[in-house]
């Protein structure tokens, strides 16, 4: 069953580094798992935890957030702010029972096309192993059924 499972993963990436890295992966004709849907944002500092919750709300099995390496931020320190935020949010999700394997963070520069492709593959594999996020999907299903007691 799990062999057939194709996870849906949403990646929030910054436009200056990771998105450029994804571009490089493409122009280098590197093949990687097609399970990741990329959403480009100006900076990791713009990536609110709300985005991650929204992705889960819409049925994502995993979320990846990625941006410039520390020190490389186009806006000088957007990624430093993001890093703290993720640190805290990750701990919170962990405590709530949303496994940290489903919400991953990475630094990928514009030059790291190879790392991007590898990461997409490994993240997809990891989440494929975990299987669909059934517990969350059950909550989504519950919203679609008439209220009962």
């Amino acid at each position: 069953m799990n062999e057939l499972f194709e996870p849906e993963i949403v990646a929030f990436v910054c436009t200056y580094c990771t998105y450029a890295g994804a571009d490089l992966a493409g122009t280098s004709r590197l093949k990687y798992a097609p399970n990741v849907r990329i959403i480009r944002l100006p900076c990791t500092g713009r990536i609110s935890p709300m985005f991650i919750l929204k992705a889960l709300q819409k049925g994502a099995d995993g979320v990846l957030v990625s941006g410039c390496h520390p020190g490389d931020c186009h806006f000088t320190h957007g990624n430093y702010h993001a890093r703290r935020r993720w640190m805290v949010f990750r701990a919170l999700l962990e405590f709530m029972g949303i496994p940290s394997e489903r919400v991953k963070f990475s630094w990928i520069s514009a030059a790291e096309g190879g790392k991007f492709a590898d990461l997409m593959n490994s993240v997809t594999e990891d989440i494929r192993k975990l299987g669909p996020f059934d517990q969350y999907k059950e909550l989504i299903r519950e919203t679609e059924t008439p209220a009962t007691f």
Partner: protein, 337 residues
């Protein structure tokens, strides 16, 4: 001839009702919280508590409920009605205040336009009320001209017997009679001494309060600001109230498909009445608290001839800052009319 339901037969009753296809619901106490919930046997019921934390309202008017399901295709809108699935239910051990609350809201949901989400559940549910033998400091049914044994809104009234032996059965409606015919052989004829009904002292003079509220000039009284200064504007009073009925519509979904839902809403929220222009008719917390009191004891009776309060006291019992209807009406009764 009066009939008696003995407590040790209750488990059989629950089983019998369940077998007849009824969902049996009653007061259930969990670790930190109590509510009316579905049960499988009588042991799950906790009939000793004064009243569950949550009122019975949610069983008829859920906190969130889908109304419509929409799918949008190119140039076509597909809309499916969400009607509550038919479910026959019996609520065993409702409190008289909770049961009256439902009767109070019937005219509201029925005037002119009939809200079938409410009435379908009302028609499918038998409310078996047990008269109260104890009350706490917050109970105030008597102040609302109701009583710990009022039959308003109930289909069957059970009057507790002494020594916790069972209840005297008083069937009030056809719905109630049908449900008790199902268990007729578990009842026994005869009469036993009844336990004494709880004494709930009257806390305020309702008529005096209503007179004060009806006076036009009191709408602008500084009293409202004074009494509501510590109100923090949450909705715990309105959401726990058995009669508060305000709601909101929310669409959840996207451009292709989704659900329109009916959710509880509360007059204590600032956004409740906020206009698009930014103008808010009830811009302050005191105006919102005034609306709640006026609505319950002036506007609602003006339309439906009944106060929109059944005296359960949950608003005061659960208020984070110890406010509530009791305190406000007590204060009003001391004011010059």
């Amino acid at each position: 001839m009066t009939r008696i339901l003995l407590r040790d037969k209750l488990d059989n009753c629950v089983a019998r009702w369940r077998k007849a296809g009824l969902t049996v619901i009653g007061p259930v106490k969990k670790e930190t919280f109590s509510s009316y919930a579905a049960v499988e046997n009588a042991a799950e019921l906790d009939l000793s508590m004064i009243m569950p934390d949550r009122s019975i309202k949610g069983l008829f008017f859920p906190q969130t409920e889908p109304m419509l399901h929409y799918t949008i295709k190119k140039q076509a809108l597909d809309i499916k009605d969400f009607t509550p699935p038919p479910e026959k239910r019996i609520i065993f051990g409702a409190r008289p205040c909770d049961a009256s609350g439902m009767a109070i809201d019937d005219p509201l949901f029925g005037w002119d336009y009939k809200d079938n989400f409410w009435f379908q559940r009302r028609n499918e549910t038998v409310i078996v009320t047990i008269a109260c033998t104890k009350a706490d400091d917050f109970c105030m049914c008597t102040s609302l001209k109701l009583a710990p044994d009022s039959t308003k809104g109930s289909d069957v009234m059970l009057r507790p017997l002494q020594n916790n032996r069972g209840w005297l059965v008083e069937e009030l409606t056809d719905r109630g009679r049908d449900a008790f015919n199902e268990i007729a052989d578990l009842l026994q004829d005869g009469s036993e001494p009844e336990a004494s009904i709880a004494v709930v002292p009257e806390k305020f003079d309702l008529d005096a309060c209503v007179t004060w509220l009806q006076k036009t000039e009191n709408f602008e009284s500084t009293f409202w600001k004074e009494i509501s200064m510590r109100c923090i504007g949450c909705a715990s009073c309105t959401f726990l109230c058995p009669t508060c009925h305000c709601f909101d519509f929310q669409d959840e979904g996207d451009t292709y498909s989704g659900i329109r839902r009916k959710n509880w809403d509360s007059c204590s929220f600032a956004l409740f009445t906020m206009h698009t222009s930014g103008h808010n008719p009830r811009a302050t917390q005191s105006a919102r608290w005034r609306q709640r009191i006026m609505h319950k004891f002036n506007y609602f009776p003006g339309k439906f001839n009944v106060n929109s309060c059944s005296g359960c006291g949950r608003c005061s019992r659960q208020c984070p800052v110890d406010m509530g209807i009791t305190e406000t009406l007590q204060a009003i009764s001391t004011l010059q009319p």
